[in-house]
């Protein structure tokens, strides 16, 4: 490994303040530079590691850029057909109720082809965590419009920008599932600044704890970026996300358990 250190004398095991979890594998993730998928993988691996759940976790990965998630997080992961992760996770959790079960899905997967699975799993109150990475676009296939694409936002299939009259308005899945009695904890977060990363990590940790209570579905949307699909640098994309995505997808809790 080729490493560059700041001041060698400080780099001693007893001074370690942060390093990535070993559950995030040494495989270089296939994500584009600056893509939020990487951060979410990193903190999810950290939470599972910190709670000692490596051998008690089963994830379900989607179709989309994160299809190869099993190469990057060292826990059991089943890859599902497009949009069907909540159905697969339902089966896994019902057969192995003692495991921590989560789905990890993009907006094309969760809010387009998988809309029915999402709504019905949440309506049944399946005792799983759904992680929803909303970057407002189909990243993997080259930046086509998604149901979550903002009005006026350009994509390869809305080159002049999305028009609400003919293409609909941004679909707010998180708001929809928050209205269902089956959901227990619903929140919308982001990972574009260190402070937001810490908040999202806290939300994931809460959701893992709630799953032990068997009270219903936990749903965490993470408003994220797609620098390649949006045709921006990573730093520009984070700024654009703050200015343009957050007014439509405001961060914060939509449903919290009555403690």
């Amino acid at each position: 490994m080729f490493e560059i250190a700041g001041i060698r004398e400080i780099v001693k095991p007893e001074n370690l303040a942060y390093r990535k979890s070993d559950l995030l594998t040494e495989n270089v993730m296939s994500y584009c530079p600056g893509c939020g998928h990487g951060t979410v993988h990193r903190i999810l691996a950290e939470v599972i590691d910190e709670l000692g759940l490596q051998s008690d976790t089963i994830g379900v990965s989607p179709v989309g850029c994160s299809v190869l998630m099993y190469n990057y997080i060292d826990v059991d992961i089943q890859q599902a057909a497009h949009g069907r992760a909540p159905a697969v996770a339902t089966a896994i959790k019902r057969l192995l109720p003692e495991k921590f079960v989560f789905t990890y899905q993009g907006d094309g997967d969760l809010a387009a082809i998988g809309t029915a699975e999402t709504i019905h799993a949440c309506n049944r109150g399946e005792n799983i965590l759904m992680l929803f990475i909303n970057n407002g676009i189909y990243g993997m296939t080259g930046g086509q419009m998604a149901p979550t694409t903002l009005v006026g936002m350009k994509s390869s299939t809305s080159p002049a920008g999305r028009i609400a009259k003919t293409m609909g308005s941004p679909l707010k899945m998180t708001d929809i599932v928050a209205t269902l009695p089956g959901t227990y904890y619903v929140t919308r977060q982001s990972v574009h600044t260190p402070a937001n990363v810490r908040k999202t990590k806290k939300a994931i940790r809460k959701a893992v704890q709630y799953q032990k209570l068997d009270r219903g579905t936990c749903f965490i949307e993470i408003v994220s970026n797609c620098p390649s699909g949006w045709k921006m640098t990573p730093v520009q994309s984070n700024k654009w996300m703050e200015e343009t995505m957050f007014p439509v997808y405001p961060l914060g809790d939509l449903k919290t358990p009555e403690e």
Partner: protein, 74 residues
């Protein structure tokens, strides 16, 4: 008064040169190298190591788990 000193360690080959750590650092410790790594990215490195306070903002912001952070009082 004890002073907090930090040091980062960059796993160069894992870095994708996205610059997010650089803009997340409150002290201006990090810059992007003129040289590229094996994948062709201008990697992040501690250009001003004396400024580092070990706050780990860079590591929290890093998308790829590239940065380790060490911290001590001197």
């Amino acid at each position: 008064m004890a002073k907090i000193r930090g040091s980062i360690v960059v796993n160069v080959e894992r870095c994708k040169g996205c610059e997010v750590c650089m803009v997340s650092c409150p002290t201006g410790t990090i810059a992007m190298a003129k040289e590229v790594n094996g994948k062709g990215y201008n990697y992040a490195f501690p250009a001003n190591p004396d400024l580092c306070i070990g706050c780990a903002s860079c590591a929290m912001g890093c998308l790829d788990g590239v940065i380790a952070v060490y911290k001590t009082k001197i």
